[in-house]
Amino acid sequence: MSHAGPQPVHDWTPELIQQTVDAHKDMPGAMLPILHAIQDRFGYIPEAAVPIIAESLRHTRAEVHGIISFYHHFRTRPSGSHVVHVCRAEACQAVGARQLEAHVKDRLGVDYHQTSRDNEFTLEPVYCLGNCACGPSIRVDDDIHGRMNADKFDRLVDSLTTTAVEVK
């Protein structure tokens, strides 16, 4: 099975941000589509995007900042190579999500909203992935994994961090 790779991350420049904003700014209710487009393209929403969005949509910077910080999905710092979301909601709790959560934090050595030291994984909580009959569930990038447990998680992490070493 092919895993969706790490988020496509391109280095931002003010011009590229402006271009992304311009591509969406004429939609009705353009703010969320713009924020998604920026995060999809650059991996996060850089601080420098705030004044550009504000200017383009005729908002205040405070308003733009308030919107970005309201939504859990938007991040203002780069993530690790992979983003791991652990479902914390009730249906997963009923089949061991709390134990899984503790294991994941331990294995990656981070708490929620943090990125591992090797910059491989950013850990986030999520409240439901809609896989509630086959929990506990996690999402790694755009792939959902069901019936997750400590062993399966360790194998998954290994497979995602194993890189071919070139022998010279």
């Binding site: 939504y71 709790q93 009923a94 509630c132 009959a133 959902i144 069901g146």
Partner: protein
């Protein structure tokens, strides 16, 4: 001869390894020299069997599940491609599986049968038949059909859909909107997701009919960002519907127009509340609005707007095709039609169960669900998402019906049923209800914004044995304040699970943590 083999493509099947199974099947077929046609169908909703592989035979489709990639060789060896049933994973004819056979699938009649993206498949199973009729009716006649069907909002509030449509219909002509609430945030629910992943044209059809009914030519689907598979499949379907002339200008030569667009949420539970959703669609923080004005009169961008849940809109094509009475013939009391229920959590046979209103919770959990996954005794069940009460065994014999549940303080909501075995610490669950509210509150009203934070603190004190009695009184007061004083259901219902734990599982709350 070509053998047709089905491997589902919905989130749960994929989460259980369906892509690897599909690859293994193709390889096995190549190795054996068998010509197969691999169809990535929708899920049948029998999730404990996913990935559920089906093989077309003259007698019907034969099912195998749950299939792991490592099972494929032995299944093929046992005659999977000939539909033979001599294997531990063989489930016989899919249609004869009791879990499926006993259901009354009106809305979900097609899931798993078709390739979700095939318009031909959709049409071959009565797809667009409702729309064809609606294109030849005036708006009022469509509204009347929905009213007569007795359909009530399946998002949870159970407001009569036809009356909402009438209000928008009666507003003066001009720009109006259809907004579909696909922000399915309740834990234990996945029916909206199944519609969008397994039968996307049904939602497109339902929304188009809604547009024709009320005079709206633009629709938005507000989809949560936690559903990447639904987003991919649905957007693909949307493009195909445009290409086939089922959306856009002059739909199928009728002279009528309807445009549809998916907008992605950004991980805020509160945006499932309709006014918060509208603010979010407008590009703002998802803050709850005071009502009135109703969204039907001043909704998206201040214009008349129908806001309906996915399941409400998905029920409409059947109603138009088969007639309002055919739908109303199912159900009990004022709860007409069928309810797609979702069995989740600690359940042996989890999945989608669509039935007429009236089945009891116990029948659902035992006859369909088969008890807990762990095999341990069932202790509590949460119906209706994170804002629903935890129900103890004494309440499992009530029929599932909006009014019957309301009588004892239960919530049917979006039909999610989350089961817990006897290892659950209900004190922990009560704490989580408050914690969830503190994470997800929009912050507009005080009881919700501050109450949830105080709620976590008070429960922590009770669980630590600090002044337990006085703190229990405080918690009781806090719950009442939140219920009575909050602007929307988030703060107003967060106390429901807490109060139910205080009432039915008091020892779990006061028992000190080891």
């Amino acid at each position: 001869m070509t053998v047709t083999v089905y491997v589902p493509c919905d989130t749960t099947a994929l989460a259980m390894g369906a892509n690897a199974v599909a690859d293994a099947l193709q390889q096995a077929a190549n190795a054996k020299g068998v010509d197969i046609k691999l169809v990535r169908n929708g899920s049948r909703g029998l999730f404990w069997l996913e990935p559920l592989v089906e093989v077309e035979t003259p007698g019907g489709r034969v099912a195998y599940g749950p299939v792991e990639p490592t099972d494929v060789d032995s299944l093929v060896g046992a005659g999977l491609f000939e539909g033979k049933a001599d294997h531990p994973l063989a489930q016989g004819l899919t249609d004869e599986i009791p879990y499926l056979k006993k259901q009354q699938r009106l809305t979900f009649s097609r899931i798993g049968l078709t390739d979700p993206l095939s318009i031909d498949d959709y049409r071959a199973h009565r797809g667009f038949a409702g729309l064809e009729k609606a294109l030849n009716m005036d708006g009022q006649a469509i509204v009347d059909a929905v009213k007569d069907s007795g359909l009530r909002g399946r998002g949870g509030a159970a407001f009569p859909t036809g009356i909402k449509w009438q209000t928008v219909h009666d507003e003066p002509e001009g720009q109006k909107y259809i907004v579909c609430n696909a922000d399915e945030g309740d834990s234990g629910t996945f029916a909206d997701r199944l519609v969008m992943e397994c039968d996307p044209y049904m939602l497109i059809e339902g929304m188009t009919i809604a547009g024709l009914a009320v005079g709206a030519n633009q629709g938005y689907i507000y989809l949560r960002s936690e559903y990447p598979v639904a987003q991919r499949i649905f957007n693909d379907a949307l493009q195909r519907a445009y290409d086939a002339g089922y959306l856009g200008r002059d739909i199928r030569g009728s002279g009528k127009d309807f445009d549809l667009e998916v907008r992605l949420g950004a991980g805020a539970y509160i945006c499932g509340e309709e006014t918060s959703l509208l603010d979010s669609l407008e590009g703002k923080r998802g803050m709850v609005r005071a009502k009135p004005p109703l969204p039907a009169i001043k909704g998206l961008f201040g214009l008349p707007t129908v806001v309906n849940n996915v399941l409400s809109l998905a029920a409409v094509p059947y109603i138009l095709d088969q007639g309002a009475q055919a739908y109303a013939d199912y159900g009990m009391g004022r709860s007409r039609g069928t309810l797609p229920m979702q069995l989740a959590g600690n359940v042996k046979r989890g999945g989608l169960v669509e039935l007429a209103f009236g089945i009891t919770l116990r029948e659902l959990m035992e006859d369909f669900g088969g008890g807990t996954l762990s095999g341990r005794p069932l202790k509590a069940v949460q119906v209706g998402g994170p804002l629903g009460a935890y129900l103890p065994e004494s309440q499992w014999d009530a029929p599932i019906d909006y009014e019957a549940f309301a009588e004892f303080g239960g919530v049917v909501g979006h039909g999610g049923v989350v089961m817990f075995d006897d290892t659950v610490d209900m004190g922990e669950q009560a704490r989580f209800a408050m914690e969830f509210c503190s994470v997800e509150s929009c912050g507009k009203c005080t009881p919700c914004r501050i109450g949830a934070v105080r709620g976590v603190e008070v429960i922590d004190r009770i669980r630590a044995g600090e002044n337990a009695e006085a703190n229990l009184t405080l918690l009781t007061d806090l719950c009442e304040t939140m219920v009575d004083g909050s602007l929307c259901a988030m703060g107003g219902m967060t106390p429901f699970p807490v109060q139910s734990v205080m009432k039915h599982f008091p020892n779990d709350l006061t028992r000190q943590k080891a």
